[in-house]
């Protein structure tokens, strides 16, 4: 591999949109059963130093011979030494990734998509509502808030997983709380040792009293969870342009020309994945859109 130092801030070549850049796996951290964080470092040091992304964006990760998968970036946008992707092993590509070891390489294209507009909401209260593998793209927001804590008012993280074992990033919750973030965690099915709430994420809204005039919601998780997060948020008079949700669709190109991720007029990869509910409202409740 010849290493070139380029002035690149993204692993994207506009006239070769499907060409990946190689990144070596620097570290693999287990987060939960079938979920690990892969820390990648671009082989090209110039790209690694220049690579920039916004919280909520994703990369296309390629295993040559197996395929590509759209994976959110889960590490801090202010860390330019390596890029973290927290991956659940469920499909062909992610299962192939699960078999890779430190020192193996992956192809990377990105970053793609819209981001959580955290800087637009300085001075406001931030409510993060995540379910399952929806937390990793929001961890980037949590890191941003920790690094700029005084810029924000009340910050609450609502997170739910199927069982206590499935909870991700548990070793970090203390740190988040130390930074003045309220962390409320729920599980669908408790075990003997579980002392927290049991139930789905939207139910956690009933434990809080958020100020609708200054609250912004960032939510990512299963679509059914998003539906009820939106429902509970609207019921609390949080306006639809302050509810941000990240959508999931099949994606092959990441740049709005393979067609797969369409949702109404939107290409989720390019116009999303982060949308305001105001944008999605005409389509969000249409069955099987």
């Amino acid at each position: 591999m010849t290493t070139r130092t380029m002035e690149l801030s993204a692993a994207i070549i506009p006239n070769k949109p499907m060409q990946p850049f190689w990144a070596v796996i620097d570290e693999i951290q287990s987060e939960a059963p079938s979920v690990s964080t892969f820390w990648l470092r671009f082989l090209d040091p110039g790209l690694q130093a220049g690579f920039r992304f916004q919280p909520g964006q994703f990369n296309m990760l390629l295993v040559p011979g197996v395929g590509e998968s759209a994976i959110s970036i889960s590490s801090s946008a202010e860390d330019n030494k390596r890029v973290g992707h927290t991956i659940r092993f469920v499909g062909n590509v992610t299962t192939a990734i699960s078999r890779l070891k430190v020192g193996d390489v992956l192809g990377v294209r990105g970053p793609f998509g819209t981001s959580w507009p955290i800087e637009k909401h300085v001075g406001q209260d931030i409510m993060i509502a995540a379910g399952g593998i929806g937390l990793p793209p929001l961890r980037t927001v949590i890191y941003h808030i920790i690094n700029h804590r005084s810029d924000y008012g009340r910050v609450v993280v609502l997170y739910g997983a199927r069982t206590p074992q499935d909870l991700q990033f548990t070793r970090e919750y203390k740190e988040w709380e130390k930074a003045g973030i309220e962390v409320v965690v729920t599980v669908d099915r408790a075990d003997d040792k579980w002392e927290g709430p049991v139930g789905v994420v939207p139910l956690l809204f009933y434990r809080l009293r958020m100020d609708p005039r200054k609250t912004v919601i960032f939510s990512c998780g299963p679509e059914i969870m998003l539906r009820f997060v939106v429902f509970e948020a609207l019921a609390r008079r949080i306006s639809s342009d302050r509810i941000y949700i990240s959508m999931e669709r099949n994606m092959k190109c990441g740049q709005g020309f393979c067609g797969h991720c369409q949702m109404g007029p939107y290409f989720v990869c390019k116009d999303g994945p982060v949308f305001t509910y105001a944008q999605l409202e005409p389509y969000f409740n249409v069955e099987d859109i």
């Binding site: 006239n15 499907m18 099949n250 709005g256 020309f257 797969h260």
Partner: protein, 378 residues
């Protein structure tokens, strides 16, 4: 005659007997000349070297779920409206290699990117209908954006020479007039022909067209011929087999009414076979396919045509975002006539009628569009 300079916009008459000279000239310039011809009882597009390769004397009978070639015995070469194939296969091939990787011989855990070696052919497309020309320009908007240029499409598209043919005898499923793409070609051609009895009236659309035509044995286009073409096109405009009324109102009407019960009714007939998307000259969706050498040393990624009617198209972990045929047909028609506008500032339909002719269930796109815009009171 060639001492009179030709300019872009000029219309001349080229006797049919001189047409092969134009084809030869194009081939000498390095173009592969492609045109309509008959194969397996349908019009297809493939290499041609002379007018004799064209379907002279043929016309087609087309209706919902119906396509028949008929020998009418006339002297026209370009009178038969298109079959299932469209020109998009030349710029957006059904299968093409997007990227290829080879294992690094010095470190088998790493891969090297293979630089593409493909030399792209230079095409001269002969006999592109106005609707098809409009379709190419729609695909240009998809594959050649300001911020993204698809290298496969660009390499094949940018050097292509296009000879458009105005449509004097539209078919039974044609509705280009109502989509404002035909029957006469507007822009985007190098040469545009109207076929008359003994001559082709040829309008020059570009510098390349001017140069290709300049050395041919053309004649000035007299008023008689120009009038013949004009009245022929006006007649064609009145003789469209089908129409979609006020297509600019459809985005609003369709996207507002996604739960129209008509979709359930269509789903009872639609087999989700994807024929309509494959014959559609604007459909651009594609899937990736991983191709491996058996020794594990080379892996490539291919692009293959895909369709929103395929179940896997909208697969996400844990399910599929469009499990029912109802939702897949809705995606197809609301995309073509509705959301396409928001994405590419044009309709995604040019009125060529292929999706109607080639639907095995005889579902008529124009009828469904009309039904779906009717106000339905629940």
């Amino acid at each position: 005659m060639s001492e009179i300079p030709l300019t872009i916009g000029t219309t001349v008459a080229l006797p049919k007997s001189e047409f092969d000279g134009l084809l030869n000239g194009l081939r000498q310039l390095g173009y592969e000349t492609i045109g309509p011809q008959i194969k397996d009882e349908a019009v297809i597009y493939d290499s041609i070297t002379s007018l004799a390769d064209l379907p002279r004397g043929y016309t087609s009978e087309q209706d919902a779920g119906k396509y028949r070639l008929v020998y009418a015995g006339h002297n026209n070469y370009f009178d038969v409206t298109p079959g299932a194939q469209s020109w998009k296969k030349y710029f957006f091939p059904p299968r093409s290699e997007m990227a290829a990787f080879r294992r690094d011989p010095e470190n088998p855990r790493r891969w090297l990117v293979e630089e593409p070696k493909a030399k792209y052919p230079l095409y001269a497309l002969i006999g592109v209908r106005p609707c098809e020309l409009a379709a190419l320009q729609i695909q240009d908007r998809v594959f050649l954006r300001e911020d993204l240029k698809d290298p496969i499409y660009r390499a094949r598209r940018q050097g292509a020479f296009i000879v458009a043919v105005n449509c004097l005898h539209p078919g039974g499923t044609c509705f280009c007039a109502s989509m404002e793409t035909g029957p006469d070609a507007k822009t985007g051609y190098d040469l545009c022909m109207t076929e008359l009895d003994d001559d082709f009236l040829v309008q020059i659309g570009s510098e390349a067209g001017r140069m290709a035509l300049a050395t041919q044995e053309w004649h000035p286009a007299a008023a008689f011929l120009l009038n013949q073409a004009k009245s022929g096109l006006e007649k064609a405009r009145q003789n469209m087999g089908r129409s979609i009324a006020n297509f600019r109102e459809l985005p609003e009407a369709l996207l507002r009414d996604m739960e129209n019960p008509r979709y359930d009714q269509i789903a009872k007939r639609c087999m989700s076979c994807a024929n309509c998307t494959l014959v559609c000259p604007t459909c651009f969706c594609w899937d990736t396919r991983e191709v491996n050498e058996l020794n594990g040393q080379r892996a490539s990624r291919e692009r293959v045509w895909d369709s929103c009617f395929n179940l896997e198209y909208s697969y996400v972990f844990g399910g599929n975002s469009r499990p029912l045929v109802r939702s897949r047909y809705r995606q197809w028609i609301t995309h073509k006539l509705g959301s396409w506008w928001k994405q590419f500032d044009t309709a995604g339909c040019v009125g060529c009628g292929r999706c109607i002719s080639w639907c095995p269930a005889a579902i008529d796109f124009t009828v469904e569009a009309a039904e779906l815009r009717k106000e339905v009171k629940p």
